[in-house]
Amino acid sequence: MTVARKTFDAVIIGAGGAGMRAALQLANSGLKVALLSKVFPTRSHTVSAQGGITSALGNADEDDWRWHMYDTVKGADYIGDQDCIEYLCKEGPQAVYELEHMGLPFSRMDNGKIYQRPFGGQSKNFGGEQAARTCAAADRTGHALLHTLYQQNIKAKTHIFSEWFALDLVRDESGRVLGTTAFCIETGEVVFFQARVCILATGGAGRIYQSTTNAHINTGDGFGMAVRAGIPLQDMEMWQFHPTGIAGAGTLVTEGCRGEGGYLINKDGERFMERYAPHVKDLASRDVVSRSIALELRAGKGFDPKGVDHVKLKLDHLGADLIKSRLPGIRELSKTFAGVDPIVDAIPVVPTCHYSMGGIPTNIHAQVVTHYKGKDHVVDGLYAVGECACVSVHGANRLGGNSLLDLVVFGRAAGIHIEQMWKVNELPELSDVSDEAIDASLARYTRWEKSTTTGESPAIIRDAMQRVMQEDFGVFRTGEVMDQGILRLQALRERLNAASLRDKSKIFNTERVAALELDNLMATACATAQSALARTESRGAHSREDYPERDDTNWIKHTLYFEEDNRIDYRPVNQSPKYVEPFEPKKRVY
């Protein structure tokens, strides 16, 4: 298949917060940047982030980035890389001020500074009293952030390829990444985007689960592209279940609700988090709160044991004024999806798949790394930022508000690193690319194109996969159940190989997009399953009933999953921050 070529200095795949922050850095420095996105940029999932962006500005109270770092290391249950967490927390304030200068409409304190609210897992003075560290634009911070970054990219004249779907990376024999193939959803045209560097910023993959807060578009496209290029995925067993998704609908209710003083109740009206986390109660880490809810439901303390069983989030005691000014979006969502006005009634909620802590392993500059013979090796020409990357700043459990921070700090870091390489002429020049290399990256496009029209529909396989993940790889896991789950996934993968694309048309063929997305979802699900089975301990979001304890002797390490032969390997956790003493693992108490 001969395809057209377009050439750029940098190609960024994904136009959420991370991709757009990276694009902005590069476009402003004069590089020729292409920003590819399968949806119009402001439709990216960053838009759904609600509560805020965490950073130690110290506006609400005394604060220190080292305290933020301590909380993040602890929240990550000690498998976050401490050099990167240090960078995240230290650079955070600057990255947030930059957003403010760009025009992000943050809520304000009386003195005119950016408003900050308490979130889960935040403490002062290394585990002391509750901190208020999450900067917010009401409860629409993601929307405000994403639109601001899009507006800045308009100003910077970034080349945006809106509604283009990336297929696969193109690599040479040495493994260097030379660009990506993609097709225009509107016309069906297939193009090879050749670039001196590529940045994956494709976001999460919550759609591997049946019940998720994630948008339909969160299909792990970067995860699929990475594993097919022989690049490992790291810590894929670590999926965050957010304590408060609206029961049935799955839509997110921000942790900011509890930060503002809301709390969870069971069917007896009991504030049960007092039993599980006596110190910080409802503001314990998300993994802790989600497990507590699951245990309440298991004990028959839910409101609807026969239907979508759930607990409730009580906000009415906060008063109408606070809810209207600080949580207006939540009120709207709750009315729409639960038929409940939180000013009057409690919102039915249940733990819901929310975020992938795992992803494509990178170093502190956001360069993608692979690992062999006990050492990290940079994959030339490839960066990864945002949820698709595993830097790892979130380890086994992400703290609320650290995701938006991760997007802008590491989107910016990737941009800065590429910019510096460019200035000292170390950015590789565009080289010849063989037709074979391009053809290889079109393999699955061609497979779907040539599929018969009589096979199974991808939609059926997707539903079945989501059910397996929900049943066998949920909040609580056991080896026996996961073994079964892996067999079920293998069977589905075989069915996927024989499935049919029934619509072969070129113009806005959304069935083609969904089929290609399903390849990526399936790759993500398999990576999750194998990694979850391999980790025989309980840590952070990964909770094994057959291995209920954290095992620091054997498991302070990252899991690496290679698609070839479903191989699992391990990579050390960085415990060498630059400016502070490392934080040693302690028992996590909230």
Binding site: V39, F40, T42, R43, S44, H45, V47, S48, L57, P93, V96, Y97, E100, H101, M102, G103, P105, F106, S107, R108, M109, D110, N111, G112, K113, I114, A137, R140, H143, A144, H147, Q151, Q152, I154, K155, E186, A215, H216, I217, A249, T251, L252, G329, E332, L333, T336, F337, S457, A459, I460, D463, R502, D503, S505, K506, I507, F508, N509, T510, E511
Partner: protein, 240 residues
């Protein structure tokens, strides 16, 4: 087994590769009486269960990304936050947003819409060097952005505006003007005069006839007509 009822839909279909002209296609779907699904869920089910070629945009499914604006029983709205119970007609009629060229089925070409958005320079302009920390803004000044910054660019308003139908190249349209007002209202923006000057012609702002279709369809409850009248007021104040 719970009880179910049959829902009738009539959906606008057009595939430029195979159809010489658009047509309305009838569908039937069985829906449990215990549930009140959103229209988007019904469309997703139709696509998965009956017709993989049915095409529409969607992403967040919770009314914040703005992908699934469409014309539902004659009024623009987002399919993902339109519950079945609010659609009282015997047959639910779903068409693409009006005023834009149809690419396929419920998917329209929004390039004129985005062009008008870009035209108003939708980014903060401030000619002073940024301070080391944040620029200060009082809660009162920040409150002036409420009702403006929340726009999700779904196009429901602009698509329902006859002034935009007539002059999509010259009239900025409700969404673009709402955004213009968002920056005019921002105490941190110093380009007010220039912004007003650039819209100072018979079309950009003044084609608005205040018929308020925009405000009545906005799925976020925003009021572009009000924003436009504020821009006009600012223009008058500017002149005097």
């Amino acid at each position: 087994m719970t009880d179910s009822r049959i829902i009738n839909l009539s959906i606008y279909r057009y595939n430029p590769e195979t159809d010489t002209k658009p047509y309305m296609k009838p569908y039937e779907l069985s829906v449990s009486t215990a549930n009140d699904p959103m229209l988007l869920t019904l469309l997703e089910r139709l696509k998965a269960e009956q017709d993989p070629t049915l095409s529409f945009r969607r992403s967040c499914r919770e009314g914040v990304c703005g992908s699934d604006g469409m014309n539902i029983n004659g009024a623009n709205g987002l399919a993902c936050i339109t519950p079945l119970s609010t659609l009282k007609s015997k047959t639910i009629v779903v068409r693409p947003l009006t005023g834009f060229a149809v690419m396929r089925d419920l998917i329209v070409d929004m390039s004129t819409f985005f062009k008008q958005y870009e035209r108003i320079k939708p980014y903060l302009q401030n000619d002073t060097a940024p301070p080391e920390q944040e620029r200060l803004q009082s809660p009162k000044d920040r409150a002036k952005l409420d009702g403006l910054y929340e726009c999700i660019m779904c196009g429901c308003c602009t698509s329902s505006c006859p002034s935009f139908w007539w002059n999509p190249d010259k009239f900025v349209g409700p969404a673009g003007l709402l955004q213009a007002r968002r920056f005019l209202a921002d105490s941190r923006d110093t380009a007010t005069e220039k912004r007003l000057e650039e819209m100072q012609d018979p079309f950009s702002v003044f084609r608005c006839r205040s018929i308020m279709n925009c405000a009545s369809v906005c799925p976020k409850g925003l009021n572009p007509t009000h924003a436009i009248s504020e821009i006009r007021q600012q223009m008058l104040d500017d002149e005097t």
